[in-house]
Amino acid sequence: MFGAEFPSPVLLASGTCGYGREYADLIPLDEIGGLVTKAVSLEPRPGNPPHRVAETPGGMINAIGLENPGLHGFIADKLPWLREHLRRAQVFVNVVGHSAEDFAAVVSGLDGEDGFLGYEINVSCPNVKGGTMFGTDERALADLVARLRGCTERPLVIKLTPNVPDVGDFARICEEAGADGLSAINTFPGMVVDIARREPLIGNRSGGVSGPAILPMGVYATWRARQTCGLPIMGIGGIRNADDALQYILAGACLVQVGTASFVDPGAAVAVHEGLSEYLEANGGARLGDLVGALRSWRGTGPAIPAGR
């Protein structure tokens, strides 16, 4: 997958694992598949005013505002730790930009560095002005992916937004423009109203909704992407356990990312991997690869797939 070995098919999702170091005391990072860093932009970004996070029914809303130390801060302060401490876990750097030039500058600026496998291009952040601009405009997305393809030979994964009529169309565009993979899906735009104050609860007014509430939408987005293109897909959105991960895998994901669930239990990604291994063992030593996209197309046809644990 992406020309690399993944110790596990379960990665930590961008924005929920910092730059890896924060989890080092809590989970054996080299036993998970890897992690996707907090977004890195060309210039440092201060982020949004509080409140930045709140719990919502079946999940949470966040509007962090892509706070990050910028390209040079990342290279100086964050990347060395990843390079020195991770031996097996694979690292994707999540990249964000205001313009195609910004994205290209970050990718070009990072490409000569060691310590990571590839990029996850964030064209889908709902919490900054223009954050989904590239992810919701077919032409802009095609141009961006093609441009970044020219900047790197590393794996180039595009993190899609669900905020489009059909994710499948955007998945196909990414493939045609030269991407190596997809992450499906980013958060859904949402809002919480503080009724006592009669004002938005979140400082940014709106935010991105994640957690179990979006699991079926993420699975659907993965399925749509799988139907329209042949790229490997990282399934993401609301995964708490192996059963959730298997939904994504059967719908077409070959890797999964655990995000919000890590806040509830930092060991969630480890537990999802354990659960997947148990499932495979319980199913006669099946290979995970055999299950990818192995969704029966019609109820009652195709091979029966034993229920998860």
């Binding site: 409140h51 949470m60 966040n62 930092p266």
Partner: protein
């Protein structure tokens, strides 16, 4: 952090309660050794010693006891020797029910460590404000929860004379502090305010934990002295002030400290996602204009580090 505050090692808390280090009762010698880590504060910020903190642990821990101590307020003790052994006053834990709780989804909430017991107990003071805290309040003895901690920057009392000022469940870290200091033969003055008598945490239980009762204020005068806790402050004293409670209380303390040239450390509260610095959700505005994460850069801040106009 008046709080109320998820976790990992899935194995049950080890049966090492007897092995819980005896050093817990005494104020650990490491507190004097703190200066080694002073350089941790960036030069652009006021030099405040950041004590060397233990790495957090994530544990599924059994609820040993739960007791309704005031209106909508519970004192809960968990069996969590790892965290009990390393927590310092002002630090917190993220407490949640975990991912496999039937039919529920609940982000963990931050809670100040309110006490640590010789048997590895971790006590917290929980006030049910909303859906999440109400769910935690319903935990029954023997059930387990996920604890992640100890987290955050503790109070730095440097052996100074201390006056601690608590509003509501902001009392919790000061019970812990007073108990630790009492074990070392020192007394911490504790001023405690609530809205009314019904909200007051049983003073006798506080006295049992800390060796003395707090100076109590209620807004309506139904218990203790009538008025706000700030009425209990002595402008002539030069003791180190510590504050934990609602933001208006912290603001009033900051104003008092500024006016009288007093040192003040406050524990702030902001919505928190992870407790370990990854989500960057819990920021407050620093005096130098930066957003600082209350989970790892706080939750205790020297008052002068914060922008009080933005808090």
């Amino acid at each position: 952090m008046s709080r109320q505050a998820a976790s990992v090692n899935r194995q049950a808390a080890p049966a090492s309660r007897q092995a819980a280090p005896a050093s817990r009762q005494a104020a650990p010698a490491s507190r004097q050794a703190a200066p080694a880590s002073r350089q941790a504060a960036p030069a652009s910020r006021p030099a405040v010693p950041v004590r060397r903190r233990a790495a957090p642990a994530s544990r599924r821990a059994a609820l040993l006891s739960t007791r309704l101590v005031a209106r909508d307020t519970w004192w809960q003790e968990f069996d969590c020797p790892d965290i009990a052994a390393t927590a310092l006053p002002g630090q917190f834990v993220m407490l949640g029910v975990g991912l496999d709780a039937p039919g529920s989804w609940l982000l963990p909430r931050p809670f100040s460590v309110g006490w640590t017991g010789p048997g590895g107990e971790v006590g917290i003071l929980l006030r049910a404000y909303g859906q999440g805290t109400r769910a935690l309040a319903k935990l029954e003895t023997g059930q387990t929860a996920l604890l992640l901690g100890p987290l955050g920057r503790p109070f730095d009392t440097e052996g100074a004379a201390v006056v601690s000022v608590a509003g509501g469940v902001g009392l919790a870290p000061f019970i812990f502090l007073a108990a630790r200091e009492a074990a070392a033969g020192r007394r911490v003055r504790l001023i405690y305010g609530e809205r009314d008598a019904g909200a007051v945490f049983d003073p006798a239980l506080i006295a049992r934990l800390t060796d003395h009762e707090p100076e109590l204020f209620t807004e309506d005068g139904s218990a203790g002295r009538k008025g706000l806790v700030t009425a209990g402050l002595d402008p002539a004293s030069n003791a180190l002030l510590l504050g934990c409670g609602p933001t208006p209380l912290l603001r009033a303390l900051a104003a008092f400290a500024r006016e009288h040239g007093r040192r003040l450390q406050v524990s702030v509260e902001e919505h928190m996602g992870c407790g370990i610095g990854t989500c960057q959700g819990c920021v407050v505005r620093a005096a130098d204009g930066r957003w600082v994460k209350s989970c790892i850069e706080g939750s205790v801040f020297p008052a002068e580090e914060l922008d009080w106009g933005a808090i």
